[in-house]
Amino acid sequence: MRMCTLFISLVLLAFVGCRTDYDIADIAPTEHLESAEHHGHDHDHEHVDGETGDEHSVDEHVEDSHAGHAHSSGNRNHGTQWFFNQPWAAPFIWGKLFRDALIFLGLAAGIFLITGRRRKR
């Protein structure tokens, strides 16, 4: 019976888990990801090493510009996407957390009742 309870729990979780467990980066809206990478600006900062003009390709310029400057306070810097892909910074995933919590609570109640009924018999 105990194994049966565990098996049912696993099947229930597998049913929802196959489709519904994911990382924040998998489902983040475009604006959440873009705000960390592009900021909506056109890379017209003043770069120390960006004055060489024709000698660099566009890609190299973008790469250099990403690594070589820091944004003013309140704006996201390049390469900080990991920082904003944490649950506290992603309100769109809070609903999933709440749903997962309810699943666990339901499973806990189910296991408690099923194993308790077996003992009474």
């Binding site: 105990r2 309870t5 980066a25 997962d100 499973l107 109640a109 308790g116």
Partner: protein, 251 residues
């Protein structure tokens, strides 16, 4: 519930008398003092370093406390013969489990609050500002500690204390992994790995040391959701522990 309350108070008194608690608490406080004594070499933002590593130290302390407090509660009760008289008359098995859990949870929470106060004193000593979200961050670590505590109880019903330590530590490490990291461990079965990952907790929910160290504000509703998530997961682990405990033949 009166029986659970009385038994948890007995557990609390028993755990406060044990030297394990005070030893682990001393180790955590010494580790915090060690982190704070690393010279800054005039690098700015030393406060961030102390906060970040200090909160990580408290989190590891929560793991040590969970293991030190609860890993041998059930095995010792069984060895000393106190378990059978307890569950024969005054307590049912779920009351025994909840009483032990609540007692250990209160002791663990008190110890973690002491470590938080220790971190505050260190910040004050270095004349650094104390962030307003430090206490809520400690509250989330306490909830994470309760989840670890319920995991220790779960393992203690079928594993010896020396085996309980690596099992719980392994779960602690795995629960820090993201879904993609976990799936990449066995890329041939992504569906199965995602399902197994859902069974494991997402410990990153309890981590807010990065935003605190960098001065970001956390929305209060996030605290509520994170605490609710942690409590529900702890209830799930406790129910699994109870299922194992109820199936045990104690004769």
């Amino acid at each position: 519930m009166k029986a659970v309350f009385t038994f948890s108070l007995m557990t609390l008194r028993m755990l406060f008398r044990r030297r394990t608690l005070w030893g682990i608490l001393l180790v955590i406080l010494l580790a915090l003092a060690g982190i704070a004594s690393v010279p800054s070499f005039d690098v700015s933002n030393q406060g961030r370093f102390i906060l970040d590593f200090g909160l990580f130290g408290i989190e590891v302390g929560a793991l040590l406390l969970a293991l030190g407090l609860a890993a041998n509660l059930y095995p010792r009760d069984r060895e000393t013969g106190t378990l059978m008289p307890l569950i024969a008359v005054p307590l049912s098995r779920w009351q025994y489990l909840l009483g032990r859990f609540f007692g250990a949870a209160l002791v663990q929470a008190a110890a973690l609050i002491v470590t938080c106060l220790g971190l505050m004193l260190i910040l004050l000593f270095h004349r650094l500002p104390i962030p307003g979200d430090l206490l809520p961050a400690t509250l989330l670590i306490i909830v994470e500690g309760w989840f670890l505590l319920s995991t220790v109880f779960f393992f203690s019903f079928f594993a010896s204390p020396p085996l309980n330590w690596p099992l719980t530590t392994m779960l602690f490490i795995v629960s820090q992994m993201s879904v993609s990291e976990f799936v990449s461990a066995m890329p041939s079965a992504p569906g199965l790995m995602r399902a197994v990952r859902l069974l494991l907790p997402h410990a990153d929910v309890f981590h807010i040391k990065d935003p605190i160290a960098h001065g970001f504000e956390i929305e209060p509703v996030y605290f509520l959701i994170a605490v609710f998530y942690g409590l529900c997961y702890s209830a799930f682990m406790l129910s699994l522990a109870l299922a194992v405990f109820r199936g045990r033949d104690l004769k």
